[in-house]
Amino acid sequence: MAETKVRGNNVEIDPSREPIVVVDDLHIVYRVYGAGGKGNAASAFARVVRRQHRPSMTEVHAIKGLSFVVYRGEAVGIIGTNGSGKSTLLKAIAGLLPPHSGGVYTDGQPSLLGVNAALMKDLTGERNIVLGCLAMGMSPADTKSRYQQIVDFAGLKEGFIQYPMRTYSSGMGARLRFAIAAAKTHDVLLIDEALATGDAKFRTKSKRRIDELRKEAGAVFLVAHQLDTIKEMCDRVIWIDDGRMHMDGDPEEVVAAYVEATGK
């Protein structure tokens, strides 16, 4: 059995395995601008003159000191109530939110799949596939050979691939996005509710693809509210509560504790 060591922040490290994501005492604070003030030109001008910040700007301390290590080949589910900081954590791992203190260290570039449905909404699904693949750094030849695979994977209704993406339902958009992002091998793939809109058939396909991605020695993070999806796809679950680590471990146990605590 491999030995583990306990560091500060109560993180155990398994020296026999290779880490791919290290989150070190991460704090995320971000600013939220609300529509405050009177909202007319005079009040906006007065604000500028008085050198005030935008009204009703509040600071949100979303992540309050998280630390954990994720190893190659792991599929980590992240659960927690609404507003507990799950999506913020994924954005921070993807490098889209700067840490207030602490840090996130990754091998390779993490890719985040969110819920906004379109990549470029005025362009057809077809063009979105080509542009998405090229943007991820695939060659035109690769893109061509993967094209049909992506279309099949997304499972859009007949003909929709020729329509602009703004005509897609949110489920169709999310499926196409996932299909495009999954076409490439990612070191770290972060999935934020992107599978929620898919049907059972799509979920089976995504599970297979996530398993493949894990075998290619990457790591997958999954945020989902359907706990059975989490249990099905992940081999480790982290429960976040109010920006802090609540529990970390085997899916069955963590999910059971979570269900008990939230009274579901």
Partner: protein, 322 residues
Amino acid sequence: MSHPERLGSPGGESVGTIAEPPHVNEKLADYAARHGLRQSAARPPLGKYLQSVWARRNFIWAFASAKNISLYSDSRLGQVWQVLTPLLNAAVYYLIFGLLLGLSRGLPDFIPFLVTGVFLFGFTQRSVTSGAKSVGDNLSLIRALHFPRATLPLAIAVVELQQLLLSLGVLFAIVFAYGEPLSLYLLLFVPVVMLQLMFNVGISMVMARIGAFNRDITQLLPFVMRTWLYASGVIFSLPSLMEKGSKLSQYPLLGELLQLNPAYVYLELSRHVLLSDYREYIERKYPMDVGQLWLTAGIWSVVMLVGGFLYFYKAEERYGRG
């Protein structure tokens, strides 16, 4: 503080007592560094960044073409507007400045002169305005996929180049219709456009960074661009404004500054190589150093391209954050 419970961890529950000494009280950051992990929000070194931009050249081209196609997809005439818009622009300026105000005073072939100015200034103008929006308009793409962000303003410059090539067809038709003879001078137009393209790429990168963090800039730009248009001799000949006895000749410093204006330099060079009548007219009435003009154009292009790229790159990790 919370006390995380670690259940069923892959390594079991034993706490390492016989661990190798060097790593015992290692900080997580050092542990990450030892395994070659990097800060996920860091921007890559410049050389690597340039490489990854070059690797995306197909993306830049495909993105530009897609943008170009979707640009007029709402209108019935579609792509015809790509040619119609600059033509109508030139017609408006001709109506006001040529016919009503009579600025053509003495200038030979005022129409080709005006059309050259309007089309080529529009090339830079659109690079600036759409460059400023290039990051903000593509946030969902930026947040979904990882790619060097510099490809976005680069794609914008390619869009504008593709648009320019179309309107250049119209431009040449007009120029030849006014009896411009075929000469080697015309070949010099290619390097002029190349220099201007380099300048445009640079300035759209600068605008992309400014526009990404200050949304107010898009409200301000139309005024800035209009001022720039009038200061660049698009609708009148700047050299003839500075002739002896004119108001501008009383302020030689201002005149010097106006001649360093990059838009003026590219416009003047284009007219110099494209319009032989205008060339002779200027040589006869207001002799100037064309070599100086080329030098200024070259310096502007290189400085803007390199400076703009570096300026954009410095904020690479901050684009698309919310």
